[in-house]
């Protein structure tokens, strides 16, 4: 199947693509962009862990002491994330104090003032004064110890056995445990969600970009009239195969470059990443992703090249591209919606539907349990799609590349299929 003419076309195509500015920029910029996003998130998290200066005020020395004891033993204070000052004053004194500290609060020299009145021992209502009172991180850090102090104090005045007291405390701890379990769950899913996004995005971007490139290239050959010179040496089939394989190889190369950091991270037994974003990716999944991608790329390159052959200027081609675009965009949205419900019927079915399976199946593979058998079926669907569309695409391509002039209608294009060329 591969003769020296196809190889010559292939080589020219790869050379032209790989040294093109667009390819180099995208190959470098996309990972920079992706890691930039992760970097920004890390930065934001660091920002989040800046020190909090909070003054805790209660109305009695006893309570202040208890709060101090409890809060000082928290991790946040030990890690110096939370810097606490304790003070005892009554309501009037507190009001004065608050007034005097207003400027410091506004300047965020003090992030907040927490006021635990005596009444809190009965109704658990405490007051928090801050420029940003809805800081969740702070309440995460402080609520539990304060609650504990309040409970201890509340019950210590009563004749309660230690067991009863433990029981009361436990109630709070159970709530906390529930929360941490919830956290554990999301932590686990986060890494594969990242993969789902990543796979879907990379497929989408690469299919579109390589597709657009081959389309432009076909249009250029057509409009610069070079195609007839080439056809005097090479058959249109050889030209098409050479071009598509050349672009396909380039796309695969680019995808491998894009995926290499992910593969590195995944294979380094999650030393580099915190557990919340750890990625579990088997070699089989990577190989499957690349094989699926290559098949899909070949299919879509065929479609893009065919659209390029139908039209003789980029504007017409762009407007004639919509059927192909739909075949990429709809699966793209299905893959994204699947993140909310990986087991939806649409997700399942579309991972076996021609064209859609190329984008949906890799996404589904990362967040739902998909058997190897199903993955292979999806590949078979791709291969059948390829075999079904290429004779048609090749014919339209063959006729289209020698046609110039009036923009053809779709009905005319269908007629071309009947021509003997």
């Amino acid at each position: 199947m591969l003769n020296n003419r196809i190889i010559a076309v292939f080589k020219r195509e790869v050379k032209e693509r790989v040294i093109s500015k667009g390819f180099i920029i995208m190959t470098i910029l996309l990972p920079v962009f992706m890691f930039g996003l992760i970097g920004i998130q890390v930065l934001l998290m660091k920002e989040d862990s800046t020190k909090f200066n909070v003054t805790v005020v209660s109305e009695s020395n006893e309570l202040t002491l208890k709060l101090e004891n409890e809060l000082r033993s928290t991790d946040a204070v030990k890690e110096k994330t939370l810097n606490l000052l304790f003070s005892t004053m009554n309501k009037d004194e507190f009001k004065e104090f608050l007034k005097s500290k207003k400027q410091e609060l506004l300047d965020e020299k003090i992030n907040g003032v927490l006021y635990v009145p005596e009444s809190a021992l009965k109704d658990k209502k405490i007051e928090y004064y801050s420029k940003t009172p809805q800081n969740r991180r702070l309440s995460e850090m402080m609520n539990r110890p304060i609650n504990k102090v309040l409970i201890d104090t509340y019950f210590s005045n009563r004749a309660l056995s230690v067991e009863e007291l433990n029981f009361a405390r436990q109630g709070i701890d159970v709530t906390g445990f529930k929360v941490s379990k919830e956290e554990g769950f999301t932590e686990e899913g986060y890494g594969s969600l990242v993969l789902t996004y990543l796979f879907t995005f990379l497929l989408y971007i690469s299919l579109l970009m390589m597709g657009q490139m081959i389309m432009q290239s076909v249009i250029e050959e057509k409009s610069s009239r070079i195609v007839e010179v080439i056809l005097s040496s090479v058959s249109s089939k050889e030209l098409m195969i050479g071009k598509i394989l050349g672009s396909g190889f380039t796309g695969l190369l680019q995808m491998a470059i894009w995926l290499s950091p992910v593969i590195m991270v995944a294979s380094s037994t999650w030393i580099m990443l915190p557990p919340e974003v750890s990625i579990s990716l088997s070699t089989f999944q990577i190989v499957y992703f690349l094989v699926n991608f290559f098949l899909g790329l070949i299919i879509f390159l065929g479609l893009f090249a065919t659209v390029g052959a139908i039209f003789d200027n980029p504007q017409d081609a762009q407007s004639g591209l919509w059927p192909v675009m739909l075949l990429i965009i709809i699966p793209f949205f299905i893959a994204f919606s699947m993140i909310e419900n990986p087991n939806s019927a649409i997700a399942k079915i579309s991972s076996f539907v021609p064209f859609a399976n190329i984008i949906v199946m890799p996404a589904r593979m990362t967040i739902a349990d998909v058997s190897i058998f199903q993955l292979l079926i999806s590949l078979v669907v791709s291969i059948l799609t390829l075999l079904a569309i290429f004779p048609l695409a090749g014919k339209i391509y063959r006729i289209g590349i020698l046609r110039t002039g009036k923009k053809p209608k779709w009905s005319e294009v269908i007629k071309w299929l009947k021509y003997k060329y």
Binding site: R225, V227, S235
Partner: protein, 308 residues
């Protein structure tokens, strides 16, 4: 045996019959002209010969064998609408065109350098094609056409859009290829060029071959009773003269047809008697253009041909 034999080629586009049962033979070592008006079917015929179009009927034989990839490898083809990859470098372009003809390596490189030097493009060999002038791009295209040392050179309207320097250059290439025993086939609507260059021809009109054969034989067949005249003065007295069948003005020359072959001498006598300054009087001579117009009808405007 003929080098190339075109047999009953037919090509339809929908209801339009672009080429209709076209048959002609291209002898070894000849310069063969496929001539006809724009839209007569020349390009379609050539494309079918090149295997770019599949004929609806008929076939093309290379020394008795149906043409295929082997023929393609041995042809240098220059289509009417030609182009190059704009972003490719000159040397890369030449290597690529040789490579798709199955030729690569040191020989090709050497030949490429020779041609580039000869066409004064050697110092531009690392430039991008888009940085060359249009004339230089045309030169590069010629080199790309013949670099792989083809046995056949097929040129579709080779002179369209060429400046005079490149027109001569291409003529030189054609004649040089002929000297080396190559077969050259070209199509043109410019009868002047066809007459000067080709030794065999086929005339195509509305998709049909209306005339074919050796140029000299065709001319002598049509030349009897014909006088080709270049003069100064007024020859209007000849109009309506009983021995004159018709007079056609082709600008530089005038074609006069008499009713009987021997009457051409009478015409000369009359012209001398009237004091017409005769610059050229060629009895039994006919231009290809006259033949063409006679066969393809008056609708072909001589104007177009003359301007070209």
């Amino acid at each position: 045996m003929h080098a190339l034999e075109v047999k009953n080629l037919t090509k339809r586009f929908g209801s339009l019959v672009a080429v209709d049962q076209a048959s002609f033979e291209v002898p070894e070592g000849s310069i063969f002209g496929l001539i006809g008006r724009n839209g007569a079917g020349k390009t379609t015929t050539i494309r079918m010969m090149m295997g770019i179009y599949m004929p609806d009927e008929g076939e093309v034989n290379l020394r008795g064998v149906k043409v295929g990839q082997e023929f393609k490898n041995r042809v240098g083809y220059l289509p009417e609408e030609r182009g190059l990859y704009k972003k490719m470098k000159v040397m890369d372009t030449l290597n690529y065109f040789a490579e798709i003809k199955g030729k690569s390596g040191r020989d090709v490189h050497k030949r490429a350098n020779e041609y580039l030097k000869r066409f004064e493009l050697y110092d531009r060999r690392l430039s991008k094609v888009e940085d060359l002038s249009k004339g230089n791009q045309q030169k590069l295209q010629f080199i790309a056409t013949v670099l792989h040392d083809p046995d056949f050179v097929i040129l579709d309207e080779p002179f369209s859009g060429l400046d005079p320097v490149n027109t001569n250059l291409l003529k030189d290439i054609i004649l040089e290829m002929k000297e080396r025993g190559k077969v050259i086939i070209f199509s043109t609507h410019l009868m002047d060029f066809a007459e000067k260059l080709c030794d065999h021809l086929a005339m195509i009109d509305h998709g049909k071959i209306i005339l074919k054969g050796k140029l000299s034989e065709i001319k002598s067949r049509y030349a009897q009773k014909n006088v080709s005249l270049t003069y100064e003065g007024d020859i209007s007295f000849l109009k309506g003269h009983p021995i004159i069948e018709k007079i056609e003005n082709y600008g530089n020359t005038t074609g006069i047809r008499v009713k009987e072959p021997e009457q051409s001498q009478t015409v000369l006598k009359m012209l001398v008697e009237r004091g017409i300054v005769i610059k050229k009087f060629d009895a039994n001579d006919i231009s290809l253009q006259e033949i063409f117009i006679e066969l393809a009808g008056r609708e072909v405007s001589g104007k177009e041909v003359h301007n070209a």
